[in-house]
C-alpha cells in the first residue's frame, strides 16, 4: 500500500517532469542548425530547393514552431510519438524495437559493474594498507581513467581478431538463425564484450565507493560493539560493515543505471549493438526530431523508473526509512 501510494505520487511528478523535458528538448533540438529535409536532400546528392520545400511540407516543418510543438505534445498525450521522418516508421515501433537490446546491454553492464565493483571494493577495504588492497585500487583507477572506446577497441582486437574467442560486434550471429537456448547462448556471447566494456568504468566507481564507504562504516561504534561481542572478523565485514556501506551505493547505482542508457552510445557504436543509444545518435545527426524526442522521452522514463526502483530497494534495505514511511 505504502509503496503503491509512493509510486503513484512519484508517477504524478514524473509525468510533469517528462512533459517539461519534452518541451525543453523540443526547443533544444530545433535550435540545432539544419533540419531533416535538408539532411535527406543532402544525402541524395542532387536536389533542388523545390524538392526540399516539398519535404518540409510533408513533414509539417513549414509550420510555426509553437504549432509543431502543440501537435507533438498532443500526440504524446495520446501515446502517439509520431513518425520518424527518415525511416518512415512510427517512432514508438522503432524505439520498442531497440529498447530490449539496450536494456539487455545496460542491465548486464550494471550487474557486472555492481557485483564486481562491490566485491573488489570490499576486498580492497579489508586489505586496506596492504599491497593487495592497493593493487585493486590501482586497477580500479586504471579502468576509471582509460577512455571507454579505447578499452572497446582493444578488447575487440584481442578477443575477436587475434584470439577469435568472441564475436566482434552485433547482437547475434547473422544468418545462423539459432532458436531457443542456442539463440540465448549466441546473444550472451555477443553481449560479453560490450557489457564488460560499458561496465568497466562503473565498476571502477563502485569499487572506490564501496571501499570508502566500508572504511568509514568500519569506524562506527556498532562495529566496535560487534567486535566486543567476539564476532569473527569475516562476519563483521559482511553482516555489519558491508551491509551498512551498501546504502549510499544503492542511491548512486540508481542514478547511474539511468545514466548508462546515454553512456551506451559509444559502446553501441563500436560494437554495432542495435540499441537506442545509437538510434539516438543517428536521430540527432539526421535531425529526425520526432525520433530524437522519442528517445529522450524513453531514456528519461528509464531514469525515472530506475530511480523509483532504487527508492524501493533503499526502503527495503534501510529499516529507518521504512519506519519513517
Amino acid at each position: 500500500m505504502l509503496y503503491l501510494s509512493l509510486i503513484a505520487g512519484r508517477l504524478g511528478k514524473a509525468v510533469l517532469v517528462l512533459l517539461a523535458i519534452l518541451v525543453f528538448n523540443f526547443f533544444l533540438i530545433h535550435a540545432a542548425p539544419g533540419d531533416p529535409a535538408l539532411v535527406m536532400a543532402g544525402e541524395a546528392g542532387s536536389t533542388d530547393a523545390e524538392f526540399i520545400a516539398d519535404l518540409r511540407e510533408r513533414f509539417g516543418l513549414d509550420q510555426p514552431l509553437p504549432v509543431q510543438l502543440w501537435h507533438y505534445i498532443s500526440g504524446v498525450l495520446t501515446l502517439d510519438f509520431g513518425y520518424s521522418y527518415r525511416q518512415q516508421m512510427p517512432v514508438l515501433d522503432l524505439i520498442l524495437d531497440r529498447l530490449p537490446a539496450t536494456l539487455l546491454l545496460t542491465g548486464a553492464a550494471f550487474i557486472i559493474s555492481l557485483s564486481l565493483g562491490v566485491l573488489a571494493g570490499a576486498l580492497a577495504a579489508m586489505r586496506a594498507g596492504k599491497p593487495s588492497g592497493s593493487l585493486i585500487m590501482g586497477l580500479a583507477l586504471l579502468f576509471y581513467a582509460t577512455p571507454l572506446y579505447w578499452v572497446a577497441m582493444m578488447s575487440v582486437l584481442l578477443f575477436s581478431v587475434w584470439l577469435e574467442w568472441l564475436p566482434a560486434y552485433g547482437f547475434s550471429t547473422v544468418g545462423a538463425n539459432y532458436t531457443g537456448l542456442a539463440h540465448v547462448g549466441d546473444v550472451a556471447l555477443h553481449l560479453i564484450l560490450p557489457a564488460l566494456t560499458l561496465g568497466l568504468f562503473f565498476m571502477a566507481i563502485y569499487t572506490r565507493m564501496t571501499r570508502t564507504s566500508m572504511l568509514s562504516v568500519a569506524q562506527q561504534d556498532f562495529v566496535r560493539t560487534a567486535r566486543a561481542k567476539g564476532v569473527a572478523p569475516g562476519v563483521i565485514q559482511r553482516r555489519h560493515i558491508l551491509r551498512n556501506a551498501l546504502l549510499p551505493i544503492i542511491t548512486l547505482a540508481g542514478l547511474q543505471a539511468g545514466q548508462m542508457v546515454g553512456g551506451a552510445v559509444l559502446t553501441e557504436t563500436v560494437f554495432a549493438w542495435p540499441g537506442i543509444g545509437r538510434l539516438m545518435y543517428d536521430a540527432l545527426m539526421q535531425r529526425d526530431y520526432n525520433l530524437l524526442l522519442g528517445v529522450f522521452f524513453f531514456s528519461a522514463l528509464l531514469v525515472i523508473v530506475f530511480n523509483m526502483i532504487t527508492d524501493v530497494i533503499y526502503r527495503l534495505a534501510d529499516p529507518r526509512i521504512r519506519g519513517a514511511a
Partner: protein
C-alpha cells in the same frame, strides 16, 4: 592478393549457392530506391530494383530489362525492346506500361529525373514489350539516363493512384531485380534472398545477401578481418586501413565500379564575398593546395589530381589544360598582389569521417603556409548542409558526382541559372559567367561529337582561368572483398548494380 581480380578470367566456373556478407553504413532510411536515392539505399536497392539498361565500366550501355534498343538517326527517338518473361517480386507481370508509369513516378519525386525527362516530348508503347521515347531535340546524354539509381522501374499495379510516400509497400519494396527483400532487423542486418523467378536463366548465383549495419569504421575493418564480412564497399573503412586490409591473405581490392558516378572532390569558394570574390585569391588557393600530398597520404595514391573542372575519366575532358602546381610562393605573390589583408577565412570540412577531417587539417595547413588565416568550423551533416545551402561559408569541402556526362553532373555547378538558395547541390559558389552558361547549354544538345568537344573545351579553359572553385581530387572508390567473391563488379556503378552476376567459391 592486392590486385584487382573482379572481372576475373582465371578459369573458375560460376556456380550457384552461398551467401555474401556486406557492410552497409549508414543504415539506409528505407529500401525504396525510387523514393530515396542516398548512397546506402543505392548500394542495396540495385539488387531489388532494375532499370532498362546497365552501363559497362567503359560506360557502354548494356541490356537489363531492355534486351535491345535503337536510337533514331536524328537522335530523337529511342526504342527499347523489353524481356517478355519479367515478373515483379509479387508475381505480377512487368510490361511497357510499368516503364511509362515509372518515368512519370520518377519525374514527380526526383528533380534529376525531371531535368532529364524534360527533353522528352512523348512516350509510346506500341506493344507490351516495347517503349519508344520521342525527344524534343537531340540530347545525346539521354541514353545514359536508364541507370537503376536514376530511373528504377516502379510497379504500376502497386503505386498507381496512391500517395507514393505513404504506400505500405515501401516497407517491403517490390522490384524485378535478382534479389528479393526478406528481412530487416533494424540496427543489425538487412537480408535479401535470391529471386527464384528471375527472368535471366541461371541468375543470380547467390542464395542470400546479408547487409550488416556496423556504424563504426574500425569495427567494420575488424569484422572483415575476422571473416564475418566478405565485401567492404567503397567508404566502409578509413583510407588508412585500405592497404592493410587489402594485403590480408585472400583479400582483393578493386578501384573499378565508380565510372558512372565519377565522384569529384572540390572546395566551394564563396565567390560572392570577401577575398574569395577576387580571382587572384582563388588562384592562390589552387597554388597553395598540396594535392599530391593529400592523394598520397589520405587516398593511398589511388585518386587522380584533376587539371580543371572535368574529370579525366570523361571523354569530354580537355587534355591540353595543365593543373595548377603546388607553389606556395606563387600563392603568396598573388595574395600580395591583391592586397589580402589577413582576414580570417572560415573553412568548413565535410563531416564524413576521419579522412575528410584529416584532409581539412591538411588544407588548413596548406592555406596557412601560403599566408591565409583560417579557422575551421566543424559541423555535423545537418549543419554542413545548412551552411552550404544558405551560402554561409567561405571555403567548404564537398564532393559531387560528375556522372557520365557534363550536362548532368558538371554544368549544374557553374550555370548561373542554377543559383538558388536552399539546396546544397546547385551553383552554391555563386559563379556567374554568361559565356559559360551559353557554352554548357549549347553543348548539352549538340549531337555532333566534334562540335560538342569544342564547346566543352572552351568551357574548361574559361573555368580553369577563373577558378570558381578549387578542384581537389578525382576520388577513388576502392572496394575490398574476399578474393573468393567473383564477378562482384561488372558495371560502371559497381556494387550498386547488385550481385546479379556475383558468385562465391565454396569450400572455405
Amino acid at each position: 592478393s592486392g590486385s584487382s581480380a573482379s572481372s576475373d578470367g582465371d578459369g573458375a566456373q560460376p556456380h550457384s549457392g552461398g551467401e555474401v556478407n556486406i557492410a552497409i553504413q549508414p543504415e539506409p532510411p528505407s529500401l525504396m530506391l525510387p523514393l530515396v536515392q542516398n548512397n546506402p539505399v543505392q548500394l542495396i536497392g540495385g539488387n531489388i530494383f532494375e532499370s532498362l539498361l546497365r552501363y559497362s565500366t567503359d560506360l557502354e550501355p548494356m541490356p537489363q530489362l531492355a534486351k535491345s534498343w535503337e536510337i533514331g538517326d536524328d537522335g530523337l527517338t529511342y526504342t527499347f525492346h523489353l524481356y517478355d518473361n519479367v515478373v515483379w517480386h509479387d508475381g505480377e507481370p512487368f510490361s511497357a506500361e510499368d516503364v511509362v508509369f515509372s518515368v512519370g513516378f520518377m519525374t514527380e519525386v526526383e528533380p534529376q529525373a525531371r531535368e532529364t525527362m524534360s527533353h522528352v516530348e512523348r512516350i509510346e508503347t506500341p506493344d507490351a514489350n516495347t517503349v519508344v521515347f520521342h525527344l524534343k531535340q537531340p540530347y545525346p546524354a539521354f541514353i545514359m539516363a536508364f541507370e537503376v539509381g536514376s530511373m528504377p522501374m516502379v510497379p504500376k499495379h502497386i503505386y498507381e493512384g496512391t500517395d507514393y510516400h505513404n504506400n505500405p509497400a515501401n516497407a517491403h519494396p517490390i522490384g524485378t531485380g535478382p534479389f528479393e527483400f526478406e528481412r530487416w532487423d533494424r540496427g543489425s542486418v538487412i537480408v535479401l534472398s535470391k529471386n527464384e523467378d528471375y527472368y535471366q536463366e541461371g541468375l543470380p548465383y547467390l542464395d542470400t545477401l546479408y547487409w550488416h549495419v556496423i556504424p563504426d569504421a574500425a569495427s567494420r575493418a575488424a569484422a572483415y578481418e575476422n571473416g564475418t564480412l566478405d565485401v567492404l564497399p567503397a567508404g566502409s573503412v578509413e583510407n588508412f586501413d585500405l592497404e592493410r586490409l587489402a594485403d590480408l591473405p585472400g583479400s582483393c581490392i578493386t578501384n573499378q565500379g565508380s565510372e558512372m558516378f565519377n565522384p569529384f572532390a572540390m572546395l566551394w569558394l564563396n565567390n560572392r564575398e570577401g577575398p574569395m570574390s577576387d580571382v587572384r585569391f582563388r588562384k592562390a588557393v589552387m597554388y597553395a593546395l598540396d594535392r599530391q600530398f593529400a592523394n598520397d597520404v589520405l587516398w593511398n595514391g589511388l585518386g587522380r589530381i584533376p587539371a580543371g573542372p572535368f574529370s579525366s575519366k570523361l571523354p569530354e575532358h580537355d587534355d591540353s589544360i595543365e593543373a595548377y602546381p603546388h607553389d606556395p610562393e606563387q600563392a603568396r605573390a598573388l595574395l600580395d598582389e591583391m592586397g589580402y589583408n589577413g582576414e580570417q577565412i572560415r573553412l568548413l570540412p565535410l563531416p564524413y569521417g576521419e579522412t575528410w577531417a584529416r584532409w581539412s587539417e591538411a588544407v588548413r595547413q596548406n592555406l596557412e603556409d601560403a599566408g591565409i588565416n583560417v579557422t575551421t568550423e566543424a559541423t555535423d551533416v545537418a549543419g554542413w548542409n545548412q551552411a552550404i545551402s544558405q551560402w554561409d561559408y567561405d571555403i567548404a569541402f564537398t564532393y559531387l558526382y560528375q556522372y557520365s556526362d557534363p550536362s548532368i553532373g558538371i554544368s549544374r555547378t557553374y550555370n548561373s541559372d542554377n543559383i538558388a538558395r536552399g539546396s546544397p547541390w546547385n551553383n552554391v559558389e555563386g559563379y556567374r559567367n554568361e559565356r559559360v552558361d551559353e557554352l554548357f547549354a549549347a553543348a548539352a544538345v549538340e549531337a555532333d561529337p566534334e562540335a560538342r568537344q569544342q564547346l566543352y573545351s572552351e568551357v574548361q579553359q574559361i573555368l580553369h582561368e577563373e577558378v570558381p572553385l578549387a578542384w581537389l581530387l578525382e576520388m577513388p572508390q576502392p572496394v575490398i572483398h574476399g578474393c573468393d567473391v567473383h564477378n562482384l563488379i561488372t558495371t560502371g556503378i559497381g556494387i550498386s548494380d547488385g550481385f546479379k552476376n556475383a558468385w562465391i567459391e565454396s569450400g572455405d
